[in-house]
């Protein structure tokens, strides 16, 4: 279905948020563009840090890399989450694979004007590798993973799909 090199930032983000979401996303269920929160996120993306150019790594597309090889990601939420961190880590992993010694990820939260820094260590590299393998394992699964508890679905653009009866 997908190969090692096709795993992008969104896959990693969904892996951390909800495996069911990832499974569905891989099968072409893409209700995101109908979701007001996602549209607002895109608007934040379009209007923040417009002077920098995004870097396209094929499957993954990251916001920008600065002169000293730190990966920068702009987030529209106000609360940092493990998924954000994993996404930054994955981008560093991808950069290392193409021969760029990324030092780590800097996550920007324009809403609260905070940034978070995550250096790319040995341990992070191992974790990034494990994340990619986990995505591939979910992709292979024949049956869909179960829904999260109802409270975990709040704000997710797949809620309508998963919870309509």
């Amino acid at each position: 279905m997908i190969t090692y090199d096709d795993v992008g930032g969104v896959h990693i983000k969904y892996l951390y948020h909800c495996r069911r979401q990832l499974w569905l996303y891989l099968r072409g269920i893409r209700p995101e563009h109908l979701n007001a929160a996602v549209q607002s996120g895109e608007a934040v993306h379009d209007t923040s840090y417009t002077r920098n150019t995004p870097v396209d790594l094929g499957a993954a597309k990251l916001d920008f890399v600065d002169g000293s090889h730190w990966v920068h990601e702009v987030k529209s939420s106000s609360r940092p989450s493990p998924a954000d961190e994993a996404q930054g880590r994955h981008y560093c992993h991808r950069l290392h694979r193409v021969g760029i010694e990324a030092k780590g990820a800097v996550l920007h939260y324009p809403k609260t004007r905070r940034t978070q820094k995550f250096p790319y260590t040995e341990q992070a590299a191992v974790q990034a590798e494990a994340d990619v393998e986990a995505v591939l394992a979910v992709a292979e699964a024949p049956a869909s993973p179960d829904r999260l508890a109802r409270s975990g679905c709040r704000g997710c653009s797949f809620t309508d799909y998963c919870w309509t009866e």
Partner: protein
């Protein structure tokens, strides 16, 4: 359908122009209206509408469908954007389900049952109790789509008769007739059904399903979107029958709302405007959804039902077609 954008209803003759990244609606005797294209989910053109390539490419980029109703008020066709929502895996699963006679008849059965349930709910529970039991029995015995359609037809006929008893003389249906509708009541039903069909088409195009692979109606039959025919069955009573009875009992429908010839009838311009406004407002009415635990508009119910069918095809969760629950 999710609330990130809305439907625009064009009730007077107009021209849609493109101005940079937005739309302008030009009308003969009214000021231009500027609409940001991101606010448009789809457009229902109930009157003559001109548009050109520049508009179409903008609409396509923003995945906006335009539905056209013809001069006579029947569904004339749609300008559909490219199929960006369908997913190969889902369509394959849908085709597998439709190709399996056992699975597809099961879906068809539940659609017919839900449709009859809704008809009975909006028309008359008592008078239709007997026809409904008969229908349920014949559904049990049916083994093919044709038999199911026949059983539905029988039930529908009794329902039309019951409706006639609640309508003023001039609005009575005297049996359902289409293309062209023979009298005022039929003209109303046809018009509302056309709009419902268009709305369901929009909903289906937002899901990964293929609009041509159907379960009750023959796949790709009559060059129509057969799946849309399937799914609109449950929603027609909610809109057409219900609104007809309501507008008749409130005395909102008058004879001048229809143009009637000897053997055919259609809505007049004023009638059309009234009906479109009523339907538009009706689609915006909300009810509390039980499992989503929030208010959903009638409009959104169409989308949710199509999603439930997607889940049935892709994951095998039971599909319970829409029933009026309030």
């Amino acid at each position: 359908m999710p609330a990130a954008a809305r439907t625009y209803w064009l009730t007077s003759p107009c021209r849609i122009r493109r101005k940079d990244e937005s739309l302008i609606i030009e009308r003969d005797n009214a000021a231009n209206v500027h609409i940001p294209v991101t606010d448009v989910r789809d457009i229902v053109a109930c009157a003559e509408t001109d548009l050109n390539t520049a508009v179409i490419s903008l609409l396509n980029r923003h995945r906006v469908n335009v539905h056209f109703l013809s001069y006579y008020g029947d569904y004339a066709g749609s300008l559909l954007t490219s199929d960006t929502s369908t997913s190969g895996e889902t369509v394959a699963a849908q085709a597998r389900t439709a190709g399996d006679p056992h699975a597809s008849v099961a879906i068809a059965r539940s659609i017919v049952d839900a449709c009859a349930f809704n008809v009975r709910r909006v028309v008359d529970r008592k008078l239709l109790a007997r026809p409904y039991t008969v229908l349920r029995e014949s559904i049990e015995d049916s083994t093919s789509q044709a038999q199911l359609m026949g059983a539905e037809g029988t039930f529908r006929r009794s329902a039309w008769e019951v409706i006639d008893t609640k309508l003023p003389d001039w609005l009575q249906l005297n049996g359902r007739s289409r293309r062209p509708p023979r009298n005022a009541g039929n003209a109303f039903i046809s018009y509302v059904n056309g709009i419902t069909y268009a709305r369901v088409l929009t909903a289906v195009r937002l899901t990964p399903l293929h609009s041509g692979i159907a379960f009750l109606h023959g796949t790709m039959e009559r060059q129509r979107h057969s799946l849309v025919l399937d799914l609109s069955e449950m929603f027609k009573p909610l809109m057409a029958e219900r609104l007809l009875l309501r507008m008749a009992s409130r005395n909102q429908l008058k004879e001048h709302h229809f143009d009637r010839d000897t053997n055919q009838a259609m809505l007049s311009d004023t009638g059309r405007k009234l009906v479109v406004q009523t339907i538009r407002d009706e689609f915006a009415v909300t009810v509390t959804h039980r499992t989503l635990a929030r208010n959903v508009a009638y409009d959104e119910l169409l989308y949710l039902d199509a999603l439930a069918l997607t889940r049935h095809c892709l994951e095998g969760t039971p599909y319970k077609p829409f029933r009026i629950w309030w």
